[in-house]
């Protein structure tokens, strides 16, 4: 369906939602860095998202006839999954969250989030420009 906004805007918003969620999970892991027996959590959404977008090779469905339903991405039906590590990682009794790993995940996540925010900002400002110039 054609709309005023670019097609990718729902997808971008959803991925930003997931990244915010991942930031929450990283915060939770960092907060419990000294909690004995805490199991570190990770958030996975890339694979599910690719499947939802029909980009993954496995189980891909081809649209062979124009009357077939399009394989559209539905933002509200895509979910991420939280994975809990099976056993708490115990090194010297207290160290159960890998600080380096969490920091790297956080930095990566932050960069991607900022990138997507910029992408969205630019696409919306392009739209604004079009509206402003069209009215002249």
């Amino acid at each position: 369906m054609k709309s005023l906004f670019p097609d990718h805007i729902d997808l971008t918003a959803k991925v930003m939602d997931f990244q915010l969620q991942r930031q929450n999970i990283v915060s939770a892991n960092m907060a419990n860095i000294n909690t004995p027996g805490y199991k570190a959590r990770t958030l996975e959404f890339e694979k599910d998202l690719q499947a939802a977008l029909g980009l993954s090779e496995a189980g891909a469905v081809a649209r062979t006839h124009p009357n077939h339903f399009p394989l559209a991405f539905a933002a509200d039906q895509t979910e991420a999954s939280v994975t809990k590590s099976l056993t708490p990682r115990v090194v010297q009794g207290v160290d159960n969250v890998d600080l380096d790993k969490e920091m790297a995940a956080m930095a990566k996540n932050n960069l991607l989030y900022n990138t997507l925010a910029t992408v969205m900002q630019k696409s919306l400002s392009g739209l604004k420009q079009t509206i402003a110039d069209g009215g002249k």
Binding site: D17, Q21, I25, M103
Partner: protein, 145 residues
């Protein structure tokens, strides 16, 4: 999904680590204390951390299973260490027993210092998660500009 969950979780950790630092200071300050309200010499204290919900039970029930998995941390209790006391021969000390031995808490300054460093690093790690969350939020606010 709550916008401020990451900051609430970070704040819970900052609070817990601050308590940890307070307890470490208390241990160092009382390294030579032989009299306490409970009687006997001071006992080294240890904090017990526990993962905890950051939201009220009601708002938690309204959340998805995904958000319910985000846990903060709190200090559950401050408990006395069970290690034996250190016996030092000081016959002139007012608290010495009949044989001239004074019981001091067994507090190792190096051990407390390393605990302090690890508490400080954990505090810094959580400050950096909060800073990152803040930068994400302000970046998201730029979308509307």
């Amino acid at each position: 999904m709550d916008f401020m969950t990451a900051i609430d979780v970070g704040a819970s950790a900052l609070k817990a680590e601050r308590t940890h630092l307070n307890v470490i200071s208390m241990n160092l300050a009382n390294a030579k204390t032989t009299r306490t309200v409970e009687g006997g010499p001071y006992r080294r204290k240890e904090v017990i951390f526990k993962e905890t919900e950051v939201q009220s039970p009601f708002s938690k029930a309204m959340n998805s299973a995904l958000d319910q998995d985000v846990k903060g941390v709190r200090v559950e209790s401050v408990q006395s260490d069970r290690r034996p006391l250190k016996q030092v021969y000081e016959p002139g000390h007012p608290d010495a027993d009949e044989e001239g031995y004074v019981s001091y808490p067994d507090i190792n300054v190096v051990e407390e210092m390393t605990n302090m460093l690890s508490a400080m690093r954990a505090y810094e790690a959580n400050v950096s998660t909060i800073t990152t969350s803040k930068s994400m939020f302000s970046k998201a606010l730029e979308i509307g500009r």
